[in-house]
């Protein structure tokens, strides 16, 4: 099933995506865009990201580069449309065990992470270190679209701005896109190509940029 309505299909398109308690969402992300969603806790932002990652049952249609979500094998879809939850989860002993290929030292240092952290037991890492490693773990899949749920929530300003610039560069260079949930108005103002607010179950145009 392809999206016949568009000659040049957007990178990601949502049409009538419905979840319990939310009004249908229509949204298109162009290559290179950082689209921000803000709104109070419990408004449904995370649920929307989960639906786009196809982790929850939902009504409506989602296309990636003109191809319908249902035409992908589920794991291929999730590799291309990668979800980064607020809280990172780890199942093996060290962070390195979660990567197919260990990220190079430069990539780690770029996020203020010492390469030795990769070998330590995950439970000895701080929340912020885990959050940055989870971003690198996601980016190792080379996703076309990133669904970011407060990716800088537990970071200090220095680390947060490094994460911001890494994501911005990645999206620009890969001509990918990111759907970014944030509670930080400053961050939204700095980065958003477009901004929406989730309000009373509806996605409305926001104040930025």
């Amino acid at each position: 099933m392809t999206d016949a309505t568009q000659v040049n299909p957007p990178l990601l398109r949502l049409a009538g995506v419905r979840l319990d308690g939310l009004e249908p969402v229509d949204l298109a992300l162009a290559p290179g865009e950082l689209v921000f969603i803000t709104g109070p806790s419990g408004a449904g932002k995370t649920r929307l990201l989960r639906a786009v990652a196809d982790l929850d049952p939902h009504e409506g249609d989602i296309w990636l580069e003109g191809n319908h979500c249902d035409t992908f094998v589920p794991c291929d879809w999730r590799r291309r449309v990668g979800w980064l939850p607020t809280e990172s989860h780890w199942w093996a002993r060290s962070a390195a065990d979660h990567f197919a290929g260990v990220p190079d030292d430069a990539a780690l240092r770029n996020l203020n992470l010492e390469p030795v952290l990769m070998k330590r037991p995950v439970e000895q890492l701080s929340t912020g270190e885990r959050q940055r490693l989870a971003l690198l773990r996601l980016m190792a899949n080379v996703p076309r679209v990133m669904l970011l749920d407060e990716p800088t929530a537990s970071l200090d300003n220095g680390a947060a701005s490094r994460v911001e610039s890494l994501i911005r560069t990645y999206v620009k260079e890969s001509q990918g896109a990111a759907l970014w949930v944030s509670h930080d108005a400053g961050q939204t103002g700095r980065l958003a190509s477009r901004h929406f607010r989730m309000h009373q179950g509806r996605l409305e145009a926001g104040d930025h940029p």
Binding site: A53, L55, R78, G82, H89
Partner: protein, 267 residues
Amino acid sequence: MIQLSPLDLALAALLVCLSAALTHALRLATAGRLLISAGRAFVQLLVVGLLLKLLFEQAGIAWVMAFALVMLAIAGYEIHARQHRAFAGGWGYGIGTVAMFLSSFTVTFLALAVIVNPDPWYTPQYAIPLLGMLLGNTMTGIAIALDRLTQSAHDKRGIIEARLSLGQSWRDAISDIRADSMRAGMIPTINAMAAAGVVSLPGMMTGQILAGTPPLEAVKYQIMILFMIAAGTIFGTIGAIWAASRRLFDPRERLRLDRLSIPQERS
């Protein structure tokens, strides 16, 4: 064989009453349950004894099968009742019961038709006790394994979904939990074999010896039973976990915890 009189049973019952009085004095709040359970055991065993007496006199294959299916249905109910978060709807009862049916009935049939070889193969004196021992142990294994699987899936939802969202298949995302649940279901059986004869004299062997069977004959039966139980439990546990872990995911490989029922209070 020495017959027991009603007076003998009454003496044994007196011991249960004494232990109930003791737990009551210690305020353990188990005296009521203890007496009810003892009463249930008394009535259930009496009824089953009468039914077996009738069955042994009839001995038609239809009666034996009917009796076996009733045993299966009760064991399936018992698996369901032991789940903290059973699957909702028919699946909660179905997965354990079907897995138990496939493993216990197959192994029992094999034992009857190939190993013990009574004539006819469904002779109830052999078929019903063998099946009962198989069902009882397989039931425990499957119940433990399924309970572990659904509870772990619930507790480790974040990890499973993190693995899914990194592009793992449902099989990989739940592989650790699946292996862990299968092991949990098998371990009691494996331990029982290791301890057999050293720590405990298994019940069947004890019974045969009390009934006058030469010890070595009783031991041979017991070894066969232990091996059948091990095979039946392991087949049943693997089958149940395989089906249940598949049922935890939908065709789009989403973790569907909404397919589990709301947990009941553990009693």
